[in-house]
Amino acid sequence: MTAVAPLPDPPPRRQIWSLGGGKGGIGKSLLTASLGWQLAKLGKRVVLVDADLGGANLHTCLGLPAPSLTMGDFIRRRVDTIEEVAQETGCPGLRLISGASDVLSAANIKHQQKVRVLNRIRGLDVDIVLIDLGAGTSFNILDFFLISDVGMLAVVPEPTSIENSYRFIKSALYRRLRELAQTQGVREIVDNALDQKNPWGIRTPLDLLAVVEREAPGQSDALREAIASFHPRFVVNQARGPVDIAIGHQLVTACTRHLGIRATYAGFIDYDDTVWQCVRQRRLFISAFPHCRAAEKVGKLARALLQNDGLTLPR
């Protein structure tokens, strides 16, 4: 037996939460900002991270001016620690690391830089790091999602949003599966799985698993485990009634039955005029009107997520 010094007790684990969804303009940033605000009100120490590549504007959602220091300053090593770019938001317990317009885009961030960012984010002295992933399914976005303890997908009850969220789920899962592939053959299968016309006829992770089982049986267990531990959580935003609310349950069932993925319906937020009225005034609705319908649902969502809970169908 090799002599290995026992590891010191790990510090209390910070959690990384992230919110994506593939589609732009569905309220991800507002949802992230209000969820962060709510978690801080519940006594958590929270840092919001704006990883929105297209348009970093989480600060505007929080009613803050453009920040003097952003994630870009950390990536370019203009500051020494990531703590220095985390600014106060005016809400006790809630800080913000602003996005750096385009510095996180695939062309501009190198792999090592990304690893450094991910490591430092993990090391932040907070309870919860909450990342706004922005739109799209670029590798950087997927990687932030995949390192998260709680990966959320915002959807609005519209076909495009739901199509994109399925695409996001598959892209993220396949990226994880690709890392696990041990041979070029399996990597190739995974790489092609998202292509509708792939030669194996793979359309879902279940199909993919069946093909790997056939072609490389030794590798299928690892992939099956990865699929089993992949656990996206849906948040239905801008729900206008029972039919919209029910969509979350349908998505969860569809994921289980047809993708073989365990998902949770974390909660829904009502469509609420208060929200956009506040946006126009550059105020965060949940802080300006903590009792409006949308704010109440953000409260429910935060509590459900903290308890690792979700909405279930009445039985």
Binding site: P157, I247, A254
Partner: protein, 180 residues
Amino acid sequence: MTLRTHYDVLGVEPAATPEQLDRAYRFCLELYGEGSLATYSLLEPDEIREARRRIEEAYGVLRDPGRRRVYDEEKGFQRAPQIPTTPVDPSSAVSAVLLTEPVTGAALRRFREQKGIGLREISLRSKVGVRYLEYIEQERHALLPPPVYLRGFLQEYASALGLEPRRTADAYLALLPRQA
């Protein structure tokens, strides 16, 4: 996921009550319904048709006490003694009743009006759109969903009025003109 049993297909436990079966059935109809947001981009049309077929098959067996008993015995499911069906809203019906005349749209409407219940109220209670409730009463069959879906709507409508849901729905459907 392989849905082996009728219970899996509807997503219920083998001990499910008739009300739970009805709820699960409606949920599945919505999940695989025309233009369902959750499934249209995930499944091919023939897969959706197959899913619907299995739901109808499962519901048809499980919702019929006799067929369900045979099925349970065959598959080795043990069930608690059958709990009698309770009306959806106990205040609206002491015991579920049947119409004494042929169950036509007009008859349903007369019954509803006698009870002084509005379509909007039924819609809120049953989650079936007012428009469909009107079509049921007007017997505008072309605008109504196929009988397999219509059955669920009819049962909701009947429950909301305190009518026995299953037999009322069956009676209404029996009077529908056969489709070519």
